[in-house]
């Protein structure tokens, strides 16, 4: 993603950056990213050029951020309600003890 973030590159130059990874594996990775909508592919003669779809990546992260932020806020509300119930219960217990003595 970093390689194709701000420039369009052919699959061959992307593969050159990964000495340990085979060409078919690189093509497969690019295919997955393309399917997922995170990179775009353009044909120029026999070459295929790839570029990151920055807006799609950002959109994905913003959605995820909203997902966790909203989740944590709900976790806070639910936990505080449970804590309050526990505290009330405990206080009632103490005052009952006091009433008995």
């Amino acid at each position: 993603m970093r390689l194709v973030w701000s420039e369009e590159l052919p699959a061959t130059s992307i593969a050159d950056h990964f000495a340990d990874v085979t060409r078919p594996a690189i093509s497969q990775h690019l295919g997955v990213l393309k399917e997922a909508g995170l990179v775009s592919e353009r044909r120029d003669g026999t070459r295929r050029l790839y570029r990151a779809r920055q807006d799609e990546v950002r959109k994905l992260l913003e959605e995820l951020d909203r997902y966790w932020t909203a989740g944590l806020e709900r976790l806070r509300d639910a936990s505080e309600a449970a804590q309050h119930a526990t505290d009330v219960e405990r206080e009632k217990g103490t005052s009952d003890d006091r009433a008995r003595t």
Partner: protein, 144 residues
């Protein structure tokens, strides 16, 4: 490596918060409509959100009252974050009578964003503002 970090301070003890992370019926009170969770290493993490979005992964580490770590993604064809492809860590840090809950989401397909100075810095600044009791105002996406 890009990380999504979110924190929230809760006026409750870790003992009170912990069941919300580990018990299905309590989990759905804050996240998901169906929670199929087995919080032990290798156990299932499947939380359905709304009526169709299915998240999935498995637990990696569970330390009672301290933290849960699980892999996370979406069980949908061609989703950019497939089930189990990223890792989420939720940890509890007692602060007096309150607890700071920290969520770190790692392994996101977003390394490039940090390289270019956009993205999370914006949200961390907002977090610092609200964390200190201030008002970060409505969220507007960072300039591109």
């Amino acid at each position: 490596m890009t990380e999504l970090v979110r924190e929230i301070v809760i006026d409750a003890t870790p003992e009170t918060i912990w069941p919300f992370l580990t018990e299905p019926d309590k989990h759905v009170q804050w996240l998901g409509t169906v929670a199929e969770i087995d919080p032990r290493p290798g156990g299932t993490y499947r939380v359905k959100v709304g009526d169709r979005h299915q998240s999935g992964g498995e637990y990696v580490e569970v330390v009672p009252l301290e933290k849960v770590v699980f892999t996370f993604g979406w069980d949908e064809p061609n989703h950019p974050i497939p089930a189990g492809s990223t890792t989420v860590e939720i940890s509890l840090h007692p602060e007096g009578t309150k607890t700071r809950v920290r969520l770190v989401h790692r392994g996101l397909p977003a390394d490039a964003i940090d390289d270019h100075g956009h993205g999370w810095a914006h949200y961390l600044e907002r977090l610092a503002t609200v964390g200190e009791g201030g008002d970060a105002g409505p969220d507007v996406a960072p300039d591109q």
